[in-house]
């Protein structure tokens, strides 16, 4: 009976949403969006502070924002403050997981229910290196290709997860992660404050943005993405460690 009420309630809500959206003249129909009506067009043309003309990959230099990947330009420059908040969300969840599960360096690994053999251990080490390198690559090229600090950091963490799953003796130093996490986070805020001091505004891009498409371009964006990558990687690895260890029960 309770389930029926829940079912009727949620279906009614869904029908209401669909009806209301289809009858809404202002809500653009799926696939027929005119970007010129939205703020997004200015992100693509990079003309928020002034008209730079057509942005051409490999030629245009020093536009207001030098990232070839427009999503990155929004995430780490135009709406960088959101990203600072996002990093904080992940930071506080990692902190909360550690607080709840009472994480300590002396906690013991949870045992695997099989004995990892030699091939598994060596193979996972080799894969670890490959995944780690991919993660680093994705972070470094975040302003040029799809990717960036968040996916790259997650890849780094997943390489560590692989080691945890393949080797029952493996254990990382939680303290090291904490250090990395705290330092990377502080540097993000410090870069923001440097923007306030060297330029005019908090989180302003105070470095020259270079030529669109170069690896060394886009000012602070690659630096911020490296910091985010380190922070996300160490935070998620920390969460993994917290879940896979537990307090030793002293008898």
């Amino acid at each position: 009976m309770k389930n029926l009420i829940a079912f009727v309630l949620s279906v009614a809500l869904g029908v209401l949403m669909v009806l209301s959206l289809t009858n809404n003249d202002w809500f653009a129909q799926f696939g027929y969006v005119d970007l010129a009506d939205r703020v997004s067009q200015s992100y693509i043309d990079k003309d928020v502070t002034g008209n730079p003309g057509e942005i051409i990959f490999g030629i245009t230099s020093n536009p207001e924002n030098g990232a070839a990947n427009i999503v990155t330009s929004i995430v780490v420059d135009y709406r960088s403050f959101d990203t600072l908040g996002e990093v904080t969300v992940l930071f506080i969840s990692a902190l909360g997981v550690a607080l709840l599960l009472n994480s300590q360096d002396k906690n013991k690994r949870l045992a695997l229910n099989f004995k990892p053999n030699f091939m598994l251990r060596v193979g996972s080490r080799a894969l670890f290196a490959i995944i780690l390198m991919t993660g680093v690559y994705v972070i470094l090229h975040g302003h040029l290709t799809p990717g960036g600090g968040f996916p790259g950091g997650t890849m780094i963490a997943s390489s560590i997860l692989l080691l945890y799953l393949a080797d029952d003796q493996f254990r990382t130093k939680v303290k090291g992660f904490k250090l990395l996490e705290g330092v990377a986070g502080s540097f993000y805020v410090i870069i923001g404050l440097l923007g306030l001091l060297l330029a005019t505004y908090f989180l302003q891009n105070f470095l020259p943005t270079g030529t669109v498409g170069d690896l060394l371009s886009a000012g602070v964006i690659p630096i911020v993405y490296i910091l985010i990558g380190l922070k996300v990687g160490s935070e998620i690895a920390g969460i993994i460690d917290n879940f896979l260890t537990e307090e030793e029960v002293s008898l």
Partner: protein
């Protein structure tokens, strides 16, 4: 420099990141950061729009400092500092969490961007879940987490529909676009309701508030006042800002009636539950649910100024009440009003301050609550909102009965000995807050210097 308001968020944030490196330094960082915030706020932060990243709105994110956000920041930061000072020794473990909470709350009050508001809602929300883990009731915290996450998802859903309609995420830009194009209110119904429900969950409006009971009923001297006073005040301010500017555009005709009926029913149910309860903390939490609904009701009716004062009066009273009861419960182990009977007969000073706080919430003369209630009832009468007036008056009577019943129990000595020791710090805070409530209740001139236009977003839009 006009960008100084950013420091209200940046300083606690950087302190939080540094604080996880050393457990010993963390509490000091918390104290220093919250003190710096209060000083910055009262002496250095100027009014105006703060641009972040060098991109003007609506392209970049902006913070908005005016009398409205400044009032909210003042209440929240000062109460935060006071509560932290009282609890820092006992809850050292939570220093980093509290630092993030402070950054999140300030961000919520300051931001002028609706998506940024969602991010800060999540930051302060997760910090709140962690603060409530100090109750050692993981199940209640889990419920809070699930309901809070659904609430903020609904808010985000509403926001995205708004974005799909108007192509901007900035509150000011969106409002001016809607006004300039005379958008039909019926087009705004779905996103506005989704936002209203989403924020209503966080602002503990009935019927979206099933998390409140579990969280507050076992609270301690940190989580109780933090959630019931500081968080409640912040969410009310933010909700008020959104209602004043954006949601009023949708709340016309039938939808307005639906919203008002929803709020009125919420007030009645909450008061009835408070009336039926015998546990002191349950009475307090249901009464604060009712008060939160009244605040939102006032915002919906455009009575901004007195809604703001009501938030402040409630935050002050609730701080005292939850601190007293949670401390008494901790020493005594039970908060049935029968077993706490006569707790004030030995703690006369604390008893007087607690009674002042309660009488102020009830709205009896001499205290701030009375002035506030008198004024908003007058404004409702001027607006000829007789039904709402009746709702609030009847709820006040119910409130009066159960609060007086509770006070009599707490004062009247019984056979069983109840001894609770309050530290000097607690007593100083209680007396200070009681004096503020008394002062503003008798000398009302400072309250009348402002008017309903303290939320200046509309003015800024008019001036381009």
């Amino acid at each position: 420099m006009s960008s100084l308001a950013v420091l209200l968020i940046a300083i606690p944030l950087i302190a939080a990141f540094v604080s996880i490196l050393s457990k010993k330094v963390a509490p000091y960082l918390l104290l220093i950061a919250s003190l710096i915030n209060v000083i910055l706020l009262f002496y250095f932060v100027p009014d105006g729009i703060v641009v972040i990243g060098g991109y003007d709105l609506p392209y970049g994110i902006n913070l908005f400092v005016d009398t409205f956000s400044r009032t909210g920041l003042g209440v929240v930061n000062v109460l935060f500092l006071v509560i932290v000072l009282l609890n820092i020794v006992e809850f050292k473990k939570y220093s980093s969490v509290l630092l993030v909470a402070l950054a999140g709350l300030n961000g919520l009050l300051l931001t002028g961007d609706l998506f940024n508001l969602f991010v800060f809602l999540e930051i302060s929300g997760i910090a709140a879940y962690l603060i409530t883990t100090s109750n050692h009731k993981p199940l209640a915290t889990f419920r809070y987490l699930i309901i809070g996450a659904v609430g903020s998802s609904l808010y985000l859903f509403g926001l995205i529909i708004f974005y799909g309609m108007f192509g901007t995420l900035n509150l000011m830009d969106m409002v001016s676009f809607i006004q300039a194009n005379n958008v039909d209110p019926s087009a705004l119904v779905l996103p506005a309701m989704l936002m209203f429900i989403g924020l209503g969950v966080e602002a503990k409006l009935l019927p979206f508030n099933s998390w409140v009971k579990g969280v507050l009923k076992d609270s301690n001297t940190l989580s109780g006042p933090m959630i019931a006073a500081v968080y409640a005040a912040t969410i009310s301010f933010v909700f008020g800002r959104i209602i004043n500017n954006l949601l009023t555009l949708a709340f016309v005709g039938n939808l307005l009636i639906v919203v008002l009926v929803l709020l009125a029913v919420g007030i009645f149910i909450a008061e009835a539950m408070a009336f039926a309860s015998t546990k002191v903390r349950e009475i307090l939490l249901y009464s604060s649910i009712a008060q939160a609904s009244i605040v939102i009701l006032l915002f919906v009716n455009g009575i901004v100024l007195w809604a703001v004062y009501l938030i402040i009066a409630n935050a002050l009273s609730k701080t005292v009440m939850f601190l007293v009861i949670n401390k008494a419960t901790k020493d005594h182990g039970d908060d049935e009003s029968d077993s706490l009977q006569g707790v004030f007969s030995k703690n006369i000073l604390v008893g007087i301050t607690f009674s002042v706080a309660t009488l102020s919430v009830m709205g009896l003369p001499l205290f701030m609550g009375f002035v506030v209630k008198l004024n908003y009832l007058t404004e409702l009468a001027v607006g000829a909102q007789w039904a709402l007036l009746a709702v609030i008056l009847i709820s006040s009577i119910i409130e009066g009965i159960y609060f007086v019943r509770m006070l009599i129990k707490l004062w009247y000595p019984e056979k069983n000995e109840v001894t609770v020791k309050f530290d000097l710090g607690f007593k100083v805070v209680f007396v200070a807050i009681a004096l503020i409530l008394l002062a503003l209740g008798t000398y009302t001139a400072p309250l009348n210097t402002l008017d309903n236009s303290i939320d200046t977003i509309a003015e800024v839009i008019d001036n381009g």
